[in-house]
Amino acid sequence: MTDIQGRWMDTPLMGKAHDHAAAPPLSERFHAEARKLTARYPEGQSRSALLPMLYLAQAEQGYVSATAMRVIGDLLGLTRAQVGAVATFYTMFKRDPQGRWLVSVCTHPSCALAGGQQLKERLEQELGISCGETSGDVSLEEVECLCACDGAPVFSVNYENYERMSVDDAVGLVNRLRAGEVPPPGARGEVPEEFGPVNHRLSGAEAPR
């Protein structure tokens, strides 16, 4: 992951070639909340705050940059390899900058039988990208079962589910996101937060304890 001088290298594991140094520096707020999150866990177990901190960094930078991994490693007394191994294991930590809206499409059989596969292909066509890529405000990904199969076909925008929509309606919704609009309420009646705030919440910083 690092070259012989200890510099981060862009490898396939680290995402596509882009300038990690260009990621905005982590703020004072990040450091304050990182300390607060570490204090949630028992003494001597600060490493438990690793996943939460990766979410916090992603909230600020739109992905987990190499710089963020180094900062977090320093805060928790972990090596870059230890942080990198975790950051690259979990699919929700992104190694490339994401758009405001992450659109995740399920193609598992329950969804595929209801048009999930066609939806995925139509969205790739409309956006002119493949799953795993970003076009403007919209990042697209294919996901494993979202466990909302009664609402098939299921896709989510920043993890807020949209269910039982026709392929045409779903494509229409994503096109509105590309045009800079905010998505309508999802299947549970609430509007998705943007990628940053969603990751901030995932960190646990807003949980009661």
């Binding site: 866990y41 690793l50 975790v86 294991f89 979990y90 929700m92 059989p109 079962c145 199969c149």
Partner: protein, 427 residues
């Protein structure tokens, strides 16, 4: 069977239709937190005894007796931890998500009873990362519970302190495996641990730990309130209580249906779920999600849905996820999608699972792409035979089911792919 007489037996889903059942006021108005009040007046051993007597078994797939699990926690080692496995990810399953979205206090109350019973003052909910709305509902409920003195110091004036931490997953099915889940909370890659030692003695932070599924905890308040005998009146002798079954795929009315264990699959598929969509014929269904060891054909529709009966019929009840496939569905394609799932979710720790799932996907793709050969059927089963029993955890063992099951039940479909030089189905 007459559909007009079908009625759900709502225990853990009884508040789903209450307009504010997910909020503290509504929860309390419908008897909420009375079980915790009662439990706090009992001794921990009395609680464990009631749960043991009730016969409650874990709803996460394995069906291990919950009271027995709680009784394994040593009394002389503290702290101990209570952890809720809310990392629902089994394809076709969507019960835990709905339980958290529509009745989050019920989960918190069940956990609080469990924590008190095992002498734990710190509880964790490991909630799947993608469950945005469910997690917000949990956080709102936890905030209300803290505000009302149900969590925090001296809960409900009992002198007992109890904290709840909601720890989010980050996208890894394997974290539904309890030791991988504990690894994730400890800030590591979600890879299963070698056992023994078991979590009961060396769990979270190497301390005694109980890990139970969301639906399991949801049963607990009702058992405390109504007694073990009341609970045992539902279901079968060895599978007591009710179960949420998740119906999806080609059915008219997909959804969660709570019924007593032992209800025939036919009642669920043809009754509650309204039968196969569009009046088509049934080709197959999973009795317990992708990780059932065997798909069932129409001949298994009269199987009673409890752990023993499903196993006797040759498969596993698992999480109770019934995915229905109509007559026109390509089972090779279905097997490919499920196997791709296992290949993607294999944590990479052990070779048989990591490499075997890759090669099964590779070979299944050949059939879909028109390059399948007769000998590939045997090759895939050979690969499968080298995964099962040689993997570190159950993910590997279950990963072979789509291949072994479809090559056995639907071998003719594989041959149709070979004959046609591609997939003969539209869906």
């Amino acid at each position: 069977m007459s559909t007009s007489t079908l009625q759900e037996t709502k225990v853990v889903t009884q508040r789903f239709d209450a307009p504010d059942g997910a909020r503290l006021d509504g929860y309390r108005r419908t008897g909420g937190y009375e079980a915790l009040r009662k439990a706090l007046s009992m001794t921990p051993d009395e609680i464990v005894d009631v749960i043991k007597t009730s016969g409650l078994r874990g709803r996460g797939g394995a069906g291990f007796p919950t009271g027995t699990k709680w009784s394994f926690i040593p009394k002389d080692i503290r702290p101990s931890y209570l952890v809720c496995n809310a990392d629902e990810g089994e394809p076709g399953t969507f019960k835990d998500r709905e339980l958290m979205e529509r009745d989050p206090h019920q989960l918190i109350e069940g956990m609080a009873v469990g924590a008190y019973a095992i002498g734990s003052t710190e509880m964790y909910i490991f909630c799947r990362g993608e469950f945005a709305y469910a997690a917000r509902q949990l956080e709102r409920a936890a905030a209300e519970a803290y505000e009302a003195g149900i969590l925090g110091k001296n809960i409900m004036g009992s002198g007992y302190d109890l904290d709840l931490i909601i720890h989010r997953g980050a996208g890894a099915y394997i974290c539904g495996e309890e030791t991988a889940l504990l690894e994730a909370i400890e800030g590591r890659r979600g890879q299963p641990r070698l056992r023994p030692p078991f979590p009961a003695t060396h769990g979270l932070f190497s301390k005694p730990t109980v890990v139970n599924n969301v639906e399991t905890f949801a049963c607990v308040p009702h058992i405390i309130t109504n007694g073990a005998d009341w609970f045992k009146d539902f279901g079968t002798e060895k599978s007591p209580g009710t179960k949420m079954f998740c119906l999806s795929g080609d059915v008219e009315r997909p959804g969660n249906y709570e019924v007593p264990f032992g209800t025939p699959a036919r009642d669920l598929i043809e009754g509650f779920a309204g039968g196969v969509k569009g009046g088509k014929k049934l080709k197959a269904f999973t009795p317990g999600g992708a990780s059932s060891t065997q798909f069932f054909g129409p001949d298994k529709l009269d199987t009673n849905m409890d752990w023993e009966s499903v196993m006797a019929a040759g498969s596993l009840l698992g999480t109770g996820a019934i995915i229905v496939f109509a007559e026109d569905v390509c089972m090779v394609r279905a097997a490919l999608r499920y196997t791709r799932f296992y290949a993607h979710e294999s944590c990479g720790k052990c070779t048989p699972c990591r490499e075997g799932t890759y090669w099964m996907v590779n070979t299944l793709e050949r059939f879909e792409n028109g390059q399948g050969r007769e000998e590939d059927i045997a090759i895939m089963n050979d690969v499968a035979g080298n995964i099962i029993g040689r993997s570190f955890c159950a993910l590997g063992d279950f990963s072979i089911a789509p291949v072994t099951s479809t090559t056995k039940l639907f071998a003719d479909e594989y041959r149709q792919h070979i004959a046609k030089g591609g997939c003969p189905f539209d869906r």
